[in-house]
Symmetry: C2
Subunit: 142 residues, 2 copies
DNA sequence: GCCGAGTTGATACTAGGTCTCAACTGAGAC
DNA sequence: GTCTCAGTTGAGACCTAGTATCAACTCGGC
């Protein structure tokens, strides 16, 4: 079963219609090799208007099919999500985004909750750095 | 020495002029008890235009005098910063922001760097939850 | 075939900024 | 004092990343 069919079933299971517009957006997303900007997808995606592209991205985001990454300049990008709760490691040089399956803060949360009196419900974490490839490239030049 | 003077000296030390506009923005920031939106400050702050308010906030942010907090709905707010590197605990109910002096991820970074091959340069972390006061309020109603 | 909820897209609108550029300021050089 | 010029300002245009509106359309179920 293709990813498109898989996601379509997921949508139907949740009571959403699988329309041609939604198919077009999902196909466009699956076609992107790396992360993409919503507006860029909207321009590239014939078969769905801008509003529908944004709506569909949000829908898929709520379903956990795509995830949002905040780049280091603050601009949002989207990515097909491969797992449940996870965070990202973003290369500040080439923009590569790597999924981190482990959550780096889950251990500390209990402690913070105790110390602060807060009941912690969620968190947002992004890590920025230079990927192995970019580091290697600079090392050669130096 | 007042906070305003303190910050002014900081600016001068870095080669920036301490102008009436900047003083007005800084005073307006210091007058806010809690976090504020940049646009709201611009409206409230007679004595500096919108662009200058935004520029000054960015300047102070670069200097570490104010910090930016991403609320759980994604909207940015600013806060007078009291320490160096730190993160925030944001109450999703009343909006209270509490500084966390400890960095919850510093310990995990070495490990992640080793596993990923990235040289980690920075990170962004926000925690969301319900503060003690809001929890108490709900408990009474229940 | 009809109904009504779900969906769509053009367009307007919003938040949160940045850019432009001519005018202004003010600290230091003379 | 006054010249000078980099730093600063503000009005307004512009930009990105969306959301709101609303009339039109679609389609599964009866
Ligand atoms: Zn890279
Ligand atoms: Zn996590
Ligand atoms: Zn609270
Ligand atoms: Zn940290």
């Amino acid at each position: 079963m293709s990813d498109l069919e898989q996601i379509s079933l997921e949508l139907e299971a949740r009571g959403y219609r699988v329309t041609p517009s939604r198919r077009a957006v999902i196909a466009a997303i699956l076609a992107r090799k790396n992360h993409f900007a919503a507006d860029e997808l909207a321009k590239r995606c014939r078969g769905a208007g801008r509003a529908t592209v944004f709506r569909t991205i949000r829908l898929l985001s709520d379903l956990g099919v795509v995830c949002r990454v905040l780049m280091d300049d603050g601009s949002p990008r989207y990515l097909v999500s491969r797992s449940g709760h996870h965070h990202h490691l973003v290369c500040t040089e080439c923009g590569t985004v790597q999924d981190l399956d482990q959550c780096a803060v889950s251990g500390a949360l209990r402690e913070i909750a105790d110390a602060s009196g807060y009941e912690i419900e969620g968190h947002w974490l992004e890590l920025y750095g230079r990927c192995a490839a970019c580091r290697a490239r600079t090392a050669v030049l130096a």
